[in-house]
């Protein structure tokens, strides 16, 4: 199996993989000396993969989160949920294809599921606008949140977006207001909410699906106040500093656990979720099912209060006189 797409830092792994494939296909592959060589290369392969993928930088993780073969929301929808009934439209302008939602069951439990869909292939990605929603997408999401609240269905959301779309129509139709309404609606929704960030968590456009009770991230996903490129352009004044910005922003899953922003990390195989989508989906499903099990018995008022408190305590500042400064380090 040779991959069509790989990142610079993966080159040694891919080259060795290709050599292995060739050797295995060789007509004399069964001969003892070649079989021995294959075995040797396979052992080397394991070590190499570990070395390349175990200590990824923040920027390398960002690249993996954007891998064109990374499983999109639809892969999780197909693998974890059943009896999905898609609900379309925002009832005022259109049906944004970058956000998909509807009724579904997970492990026999009826839920509302809403996620950002990047699509597959060039055609699919264009149709889904690369997972960048317009205001009508956020208004559709908000409508489905309210529907979940009305009928007592737990809400499961999937985040995967570089950010809310920046364009003329998006601005004219109130992108900021549409996102703000999602935050407001989620904050007071009387049902359990579980969120998984499966790839890119781009700023406010991601947060509009993330005012939640439990927040999980895939190991190589990122969640950031601004894209590393955007941050580099503004604070370094050169886009090429994106790797430095990615490091400074503390946007990786393990750093966000430390900051007290997210609850858990779902592991990925070496190299990324696209190397074994089924296993990753199963683990995502297990985490969601477990969280729903914990949250479902909690009364609505208690859920809402806990969600308010969860965000209420986030922030790092000092308070009091300069001399007897009391630092609020919240979860940090």
């Amino acid at each position: 199996m040779s991959r069509r797409f790989y990142m610079d830092f993966e080159r040694p792994v891919v080259e060795l993989e290709e050599r292995l494939e060739e050797l295995k296909k060789h007509p004399a592959a069964h001969q003892p000396d070649i079989a021995k060589e294959i075995k040797f290369l396979e052992a080397q392969m394991g070590r190499l993969k570990k070395r390349v993928y175990s200590n990824l930088t923040a920027w390398q993780k960002v690249q993996i989160s954007r891998h064109p073969e990374r499983p999109p929301f639809s892969a999780y929808l197909d693998n974890i949920f059943h009896d999905f009934i898609e609900l379309h439209g925002d009832r005022s302008f259109g049906d944004d294809q970058a956000i998909v939602g509807g009724l579904a069951k997970i492990d026999g439990r009826a839920v509302m599921v809403v996620g950002q869909e990047k699509g597959r292939g060039t055609h699919g990605r264009l149709k889904r606008n690369f997972g960048m929603a317009h205001p009508e997408g956020y208004r559709k999401a908000g409508r489905l949140y309210k529907l979940a609240g009305k009928f007592g269905l737990p809400l499961v959301t999937f985040i995967d977006t570089p950010g809310a779309y920046a364009g003329i129509g998006a601005e004219e139709r109130g992108q900021a207001g549409a996102i703000a309404e999602c935050l407001r609606t989620m904050s007071s929704l009387p049902v359990p909410i579980v969120t998984v960030n499966i790839g890119e968590g781009g700023s406010g456009g991601a947060l509009a699906l993330g005012v939640t009770d439990r927040f999980f991230m895939l190991e190589n996903a990122y969640y950031s106040v601004i894209t590393p490129e955007g941050c580099a352009a503004i604070l370094w004044q050169e886009k090429e500093k994106a790797p430095e910005a990615a490091e400074a922003l503390r946007l990786t899953a393990d750093q966000l656990v430390q900051l007290g922003i997210i609850d858990g990390i779902i592991p990925e195989p070496l190299g990324g979720a696209h190397r074994d989508p089924q296993t990753v989906a199963r683990q995502v499903g297990d985490s969601v099912i477990k969280a729903l099990g914990e949250l479902s018995p909690v009364p609505a008022e208690q859920l809402k209060q806990a969600r308010y408190d969860r965000f209420r305590r986030i922030g790092v500042f000092s308070e009091g006189k300069e001399s007897d400064e009391r630092a609020n380090r919240s979860n940090v």
Binding site: L183, V211, V225, I234, L235, L256, I261, I314
Partner: protein, 289 residues
């Protein structure tokens, strides 16, 4: 011009206007937009608005307070909240240094002043942002002060008025800043569900994470004339689309035209309009005053 230069230009303009208070009377000044030479006194007596082109100069928080609230009625709260550097953010310029510069140039501790005051005798909770302080960006302190303002207003059953002027969430505090959007939106919603009035005023510029959270969630949205109001910066959009933007795009006028705000109100009429709205919506049978 890059987005950064654009932001910088705005910051400088904002700072310039704030500094004007220190300039002695009788000195001539130049409007940054139309180039008109104006007598300093004339600007001050005209609500810091250019008499030639109507450009609304940026105001320092206490200039805004003196224009909008009854004389001497304002008492600040949470003044001693100070920013930290939780990520030890070290860009081209360390965050600590940006903070120190901002504190020095504005004389403020953070990008918002909050408290209680009166508008035509109506008691209100009031917050005003300072664009000259790191582009009025929202980090932990701004988020906390906004949240506490709404919580205090709920306890006192008063309306909230905020005056926004912001480039968005503060990058240097990373995800802690993004989370302030959720935190403030949740606080606004509680105040809303208590049946209390919130009026939000957009000044030049209001954008990003501030516009996409508490500032947009008011019962009444007002913009000052010719203010930039938009989610994404114009450079970002131009890069996405690879074309220049239409004239007048992302201004208060286009927001009004597209149904996104209730009204545009000139600075000179802002206090009267706000007072009228509070009189009509703010108290009902509660009549706290």
């Amino acid at each position: 011009m890059s987005f950064t230069d654009w932001l910088k230009g705005r910051e400088q303009k904002a700072r310039g206007a704030a500094d004007k208070r220190a300039v002695p009377d009788g000195i001539w000044s130049k409007c940054a937009v139309c180039g008109h030479i104006i007598f300093q006194k004339e600007i001050l007596s005209n609500y810091h608005v250019c008499p030639e082109c109507g450009h609304h100069f940026a105001l320092a928080p206490y200039e805004r307070i003196s224009m909008l609230l009854d004389d001497g009625s304002f008492t600040a709260i949470d003044e001693d909240l100070r920013p930290q550097d939780p990520l030890e953010f070290d860009g081209r310029k360390p965050y600590r240094q940006s903070l120190n510069n901002a504190i020095e140039t504005t004389g403020q501790r953070e990008a918002i002043v909050t408290g209680f005051g009166r508008i035509d005798s109506h008691r209100v909770a009031f917050g005003v942002m300072d664009f000259a302080f790191i582009a009025g960006s929202m980090g932990s302190v701004v988020g906390e002060k906004v949240t506490r303002l709404f919580e205090a207003a709920m306890a006192e059953q008063t309306p909230v008025i905020t005056v926004a002027g912001s480039g968005g969430a503060r990058m240097q505090e990373g995800m802690l800043s993004l989370m302030q959007m959720a935190k403030t939106a949740a606080a606004v919603e509680r105040h809303n569900q208590a049946g209390l009035l919130y009026i939000s005023i957009f000044t030049n510029p209001t954008s990003g994470g501030v516009l996409a959270s508490f500032a947009s969630l008011a019962d009444i949205l007002i913009a000052e004339p010719k203010a930039f109001v938009g989610f994404a910066g114009p450079r970002v959009i131009e890069q996405t689309l690879n074309e220049t933007l239409p004239k007048g795009f992302q201004t208060s006028a286009s927001m009004l035209e597209h149904g996104m705000i209730d009204m545009i109100v000139a600075r000179s009429a802002l206090k009267n309009t706000t007072a009228q709205l509070i009189a009509s919506l703010g108290y009902k049978e509660r009549s706290v005053v």
